[in-house]
Symmetry: C2
Subunit: 208 residues, 2 copies
């Protein structure tokens, strides 16, 4: 598939067929992830492929629990209770995750947890890490995964509605590492319509 078609055609899928995803395709997606750039090529990512139905169901239960408790992270935005409410704001309206259905997860055949390693693996004694290189690199890797899935006829979702502590324990993730996202993958029922984009002119400034 042409790279521009993959970039423009990729959608956030929430409706999947129950069909199994071929191992070869998962490996192609993981290989694509690995070719992302990273600081000094330190490749600060790890992948946990969750495909068994018991494990997937447990992962879904844990996400559901996190959603109900209102202590969850939605695509990188955290919802924390209590939140600092203004006088004119209703606490209930501040907890959209309770309205966010996770039932679609039951049909996701493969979930890939992407874990970032904040420890630089290159020249560790020379680097004082106070920043986000590993998060940038993992995000680039995830984008490669989504594009690879699109090219292979699969749908995907960059999912972060989870409680990191619960998932760290369940997936056996070293607490020094950082769960960035769960990439959901499966054969889509249909491509959702595009939610659109702002006009480029509103996003671009030029300095000649």
């Amino acid at each position: 598939m042409d790279v521009f078609d993959a970039i423009r055609g990729r959608r956030s899928h929430r409706a999947f067929k129950r069909d199994r995803v071929e191992f070869e395709k998962i490996d192609q997606i993981l290989d694509a992830a690995q070719w992302a750039p990273s600081p000094a090529n330190n490749q600060p990512w790890e992948f946990i492929v969750v495909s068994g139905s018991d494990a997937r169901m447990r992962l879904i239960e844990l996400s559901e629990q996190a959603r109900k408790e209102g202590f969850v992270e939605l695509h990188g935005f955290s919802f924390v209770r209590p939140v600092p409410y203004g006088a004119d704001e209703s606490p209930k309206s501040d907890l959209p995750p309770s309205d966010y259905s996770l039932s679609f997860l039951k049909n996701v055949p493969v979930m890939i947890a992407v874990v970032g390693n904040p420890e630089p693996t290159v020249r560790p004694s020379q680097v004082e890490r106070v920043h986000d290189g590993y998060k940038y690199a993992c995000s680039a890797a995830i984008q490669n995964m989504l594009l690879a899935a699109e090219a292979l006829g699969l749908g995907s979702l960059w999912f972060t509605l989870f409680d990191r502590d619960l998932l760290n324990r369940f997936l056996g993730i070293d607490p020094k590492k950082h769960l960035i996202a769960i990439v959901c993958i499966g054969y889509p029922v249909a491509a959702p319509p595009s939610p659109g984009r702002y006009p480029l002119t509103t996003k671009v400034r030029r300095i000649e």
Copy 2:
């Protein structure tokens, strides 16, 4: 270009021809950026295209100044002086940026600053942002840019060797926003060899 060829063929380029890059190609790269996913499709990115030679030279001067002062950020890793040296570590060896030549920047015809907006633009009263969604989204957008450049026969570099404060002032970036990276783009002299990747087996765990 096939998406897998773009993903595997992309390199971090540091040798560029002085040839002008067509406006149309820059717009194709910016359009590709916009089709990245983002939290609730809030599109938390802005792009500053620096193509004039005066502005580029000033940007290079500022990067050079940051490098010399040892207060710089290299691809998401920050080098900060003073760093907490161990008894057996030499301070000098902790400042690799001083050995890192920026002379290649003089031949980069276009630099695109990618700026992230931490403010959620969707449901702001419902979201208590404490996390990194905008950084993830901007990184996915940058990866799209690098792949688009590759497909258009251009070379690119995800560049972060800069002092954010200096560049914020020069580029007129709202201090509430966050300069994520500068994407260098131009016609490459030659494709650098691949630095390789770790075997996938060392990076993947499977839970059935």
